[in-house]
């Protein structure tokens, strides 16, 4: 079964590399399920995924992320480049169901095989991403997409996980963000490599951009936030309008400058290293959970938990025992 699954994954990966969009779509399903087929495919694809520019697009719900992503697709296609999008929306913590509605704004490219859009449900993962987002992005990168846009769940002020996995974090801010104090609060804006002020066709966008520029400059001396991820001294702020196309070409050019810098700047190497660390740590944790859930270990796990519940054993000792059990 596992060998057959692995062969299936390898076949999907090869077909997807050769240009089959259906194989790519099925491959993403396997990756999302964390199945043996998906794992086999990723072993093949990961080494081939290093050249793409992964751009995280994040911001509050309704800020204009999907509309901006659609505009960026248009701009990228105007220059002939293939572009892939991973659009993540929240799953219900109650039922596990989800409405994935980001495609609504991105439907104009149907029939263009160089645009690939995939919606993903967060499936219980917090922080604005889905567990499999990074792997899915790697698969897209390896299958002919030099630009991969990862649109996060509409975030609050502090979901900064995207910064650890993307090469470039684009924070999308609507002009109605509030006053300057919002711009100096800790959180999302701290991880921005670029800020797009959306709805630039409406009054207030230029003022909001000016306020952001002023306040982000004040805070720019901190070039170390979110772990070891170095931040730019001062994120560029671009006013855009998805409706009129204003500023979108400039934004794409700014992204391309970052992409070019990736190959030279030491800071970029650090961001890729941070992503690798997050990936490896995630897989280690997943492997531990899988081993823990193994039915063969169920009895000892239950007994250990019972012992903690009755205070016969402390939880730290219990955890150490279980770890010894699963890590021979």
């Amino acid at each position: 079964m596992t060998e057959a699954a692995a062969a299936h994954g390898v076949r999907l990966a090869e077909e997807a590399r050769a240009g089959s969009r259906r194989a790519l779509a099925r491959l993403l399903t396997e990756v999302e399920r964390r199945s043996p087929a998906g794992e086999a495919a990723l072993r093949l694809l990961y080494p081939l995924s290093g050249e793409a520019h992964l751009v995280g697009v994040t911001g509050a719900p309704g800020a204009g992320k999907s509309t901006l992503v659609a505009a960026l697709i248009r701009a990228a296609r105007a220059t002939g480049r293939p572009v892939a999008v991973l659009a993540i929306d929240p799953s219900s913590p109650i039922t596990g169901g989800a409405i994935l509605g980001d495609r609504v704004r991105m439907q104009e490219h149907a029939g263009d095989t160089d645009v690939f859009i995939r919606s993903m449900a967060a499936r219980g993962h917090l922080g604005g991403l889905a567990t499999a987002s990074v792997d899915a992005a790697a698969a897209l990168a390896a299958c002919g997409f030099p630009l991969v846009l990862i649109e996060t769940v509409g975030t609050g002020q502090s979901e900064v996980e995207i910064a650890a996995v993307a090469d470039t974090t684009l924070v999308v801010q609507s002009p109605e963000m509030g006053d300057e104090v919002q711009a100096i609060k800790a959180g999302l804006l701290e991880v921005a490599d670029l800020v797009a002020v959306t709805k630039g066709d409406r009054p207030g966008a230029d003022l909001a951009a000016a306020q952001l520029r002023a306040m982000l400059t004040v805070g720019a001396q901190h070039d170390r936030a979110a772990g070891d991820r170095p931040r730019p001294r001062r994120p560029e702020v671009v006013v855009v309008s998805g409706a009129t196309g204003l500023g979108v070409a400039d934004l794409l050019a700014a992204l391309d400058r970052r992409s070019a810098a990736q190959r030279t700047e030491a800071g970029m190497a650090a961001s890729r290293r941070a992503r690798a660390a997050a990936q490896v740590d995630g897989i280690v944790a997943e492997r531990i959970r899988e081993r823990m859930a193994d039915p063969a270990r169920r009895a000892i796990r239950e007994a250990t938990i019972d012992a903690v519940a009755t205070h016969a054993l402390d939880p730290y000792d219990a955890a150490d025992r279980l770890l010894r059990e699963i890590l021979p």
């Binding site: 969009r21 964390r34 799953s91 039922t95 169901g97 409405i99 509605g101 609504v104 439907q107 995939r118």
Partner: protein
């Protein structure tokens, strides 16, 4: 490895602007634990098929109130088959006269859910009829 929820594409082909039903169904299926990809109004058959392919959905649910169902729905089924998605379950809803249902069934639409259908009924039908994708 995890079981994935059933993935459903909800789309409105055709030119009518009545998307309340589609949105209510999308929301209802969400509450039933489905992952619903919603693409909204005025979708061409090509848009529907392209979305179904990229999203690797199990079900395509089409809501249509314009009267063009006998033209658009068979076309969508044919394009899905052409794209290698013949195993995707296709269902329809909206304003569809009962007399037209046999022709739609013939064309490959698995079920037609008219106004007044309970969401639970749709959910049960999808769970029972969706193909096994684990192979």
């Amino acid at each position: 490895m995890s079981e994935r929820p059933i993935r459903v594409l909800i789309a409105k082909p055709g030119l009518d602007g009545h998307d309340r039903g589609a949105k209510v169904l999308a929301r209802g299926l969400r509450d039933e634990g489905f992952e619903v990809v919603y693409t909204g109004l005025r979708q061409t058959p090509e848009m529907v098929v392209s979305a179904a392919l990229q999203e690797d959905v199990d079900v395509v649910g089409l809501s249509i109130l314009s009267g063009a169902h006998l033209t658009l729905l068979p076309r969508i089924v044919a394009l899905l088959r052409e794209a290698g998605l013949g195993d995707v379950l296709v269902t329809a809803g909206g304003i569809i006269p009962p007399d037209d249902i046999p022709a739609l069934r013939e064309a490959g639409v698995a079920a037609v859910f008219g106004p007044g259908t309970a969401i639970g009924e749709v959910a049960d039908f999808l769970r029972a009829n969706v193909r096994d994708r684990s192979a």
